[in-house]
Amino acid sequence: MHEPILQIVGLSAHYGDFQALYDIDMTVAEGEVLAIIGANGAGKTTLMWSIAGLMRNGADQVRYRGEAIGGLRADQVAERGIALVPEGRQLFPSLSVEENLIIGGQVGRDGPWSLRRVFELFPILQERRKQASTSLSGGQQQMVAIGRALMANPDLILFDEISLGLAPVIIRDIYQALPGIVGGGMSAIIVEQDITKALSVSSRIYCLQEGRVSLEGASDTVSREEISRAYFGIE
């Protein structure tokens, strides 16, 4: 196994008095695609936010390429090469499709991703590039959100609820595009409620349940029964 690009050690997170994550340990190897599954409220988004710097944690609880980043701001995390495709897309409604993508490239990291390459991946965005981002369909908005994150040329990309609220045909299109995204050696964490989809693209899977890791295993060996138990907490 390669050196881990990301290491999470004993991560706990709170919203006021409510504890959302308990002592999470997790690693992502260089070039690896990791899937995180879990029911609503299991702590998946909190975990993504903690990695992306949208929630501050103890510096040592999140380590990226050996550096303690748990206490950094979101923009400092982004500068180091971690990009987030947030749940619900979170596009900028006042900006056009192209401007949304350009904003993604503001961190100024070198790499293969450019406006041209994003348009090659999602040709429909080129056609609609001058349109207001909110005038697109949900699936096209998700493409903008993915393109916007890629424009930062990240080494680790986080997809939070990549297929939530999208039509099955759109989900298929996005999953077809995924190998083209992560094939170049980029590491990825995919948060997904659809277990079959999650298993199909990842090499390892983590299941969260009520803020704790209830299962960790290789995607091709973990059984459906194990997942059901870990997902629903049925003994």
């Binding site: 701001r73 500068e79 979170q90 006042s94 900006l95 904003i103 503001q106």
Partner: protein, 342 residues
Amino acid sequence: MNATQSHVTRTTSTARAAMLFGAIATAILIAAPWWAGRADMRLMSELFLYMALASLWNLMAGYAGLVSVGQQAYVGFGGYMLFALTIFGGLHPMAAIALTPVLGALVSVPVAILIFRLRGAYFAIGTWVIAEVFRLVFAQVLALGGGSGSSLPVGIVRSLADSRSGREALSYWLALGAALLVIAVIYLFLRSRKGLALTAIRDNELAAGSLGIDIWRTKFVVYVVVSALTAMIGALIFLQKLRISPDAAFSVNDWTAFVIFIVVIGGIGTIEGPIIGTLVFFLLRETLADLGTIYLMVLGLVAIIVMLKAPKGLWGLVRERFGLELFPLGYRVEPATGKKED
């Protein structure tokens, strides 16, 4: 709609018409010293300076989310710097006016570092407290008249131009030029990459942060630039008045309450809003000024009605109803069916 059969444009025919109208209006306004009376020119100068103040406050509050009620700190600071630099520094008033934004920027840096620790309502109160501190500090400077203030010496006023009409024309042109400069700077800034980042922050601070936009630094830059230009407008305001005192210079009513009124009724977060708002404010003021305190009550009533019935301001109403945009920042798709929408 099929996107391939339509074309995309940033400008609209309304915007082009507005630009042409703006150019003609500017030419007419530049020629005002030859056609307008003395009182009209003074009124128009005041209007332009309010337009500039409102546009600046709108950039800070409407785009960067920094709701300050203490911008009178920089208006007063700029005014006092004009007096100090000309009286004690021996500078020509024009040189002093050119220097005030630099000094305004310098003084706003430590203020920003201090008040950026506060959020929301605490930030607003903090800015007001800072403005009061400025007022109290300048009231202690006896060389500038202490609490009762001082007038600009005749010699300095005469150095602007020999004749009274020449001075009044110059001061009018400076006010007009300042308003045009401020609006142009804001428009160009918002169309630049930094402006894009600022718009992204306004739309969604969370997403902007996770895309690598340094939110603190972007807001800091906006605060410093706005404060610098506000100080310059302050210098121009007190060049018109020729007299300064701490209470007039740091008046929360004159330089912040009215400015917020203008932006709110015009439409916060748009370039057009403060322009429309200033015109409405002066219209109300000039027609209701004889009513005394009732005038202020009417202003309050107008503000409340607009906030309840048109939260996006008068410009928001116009834009929603007619789809107009005079300063196009975004793109729009126009169907290529031969029928032009406008």
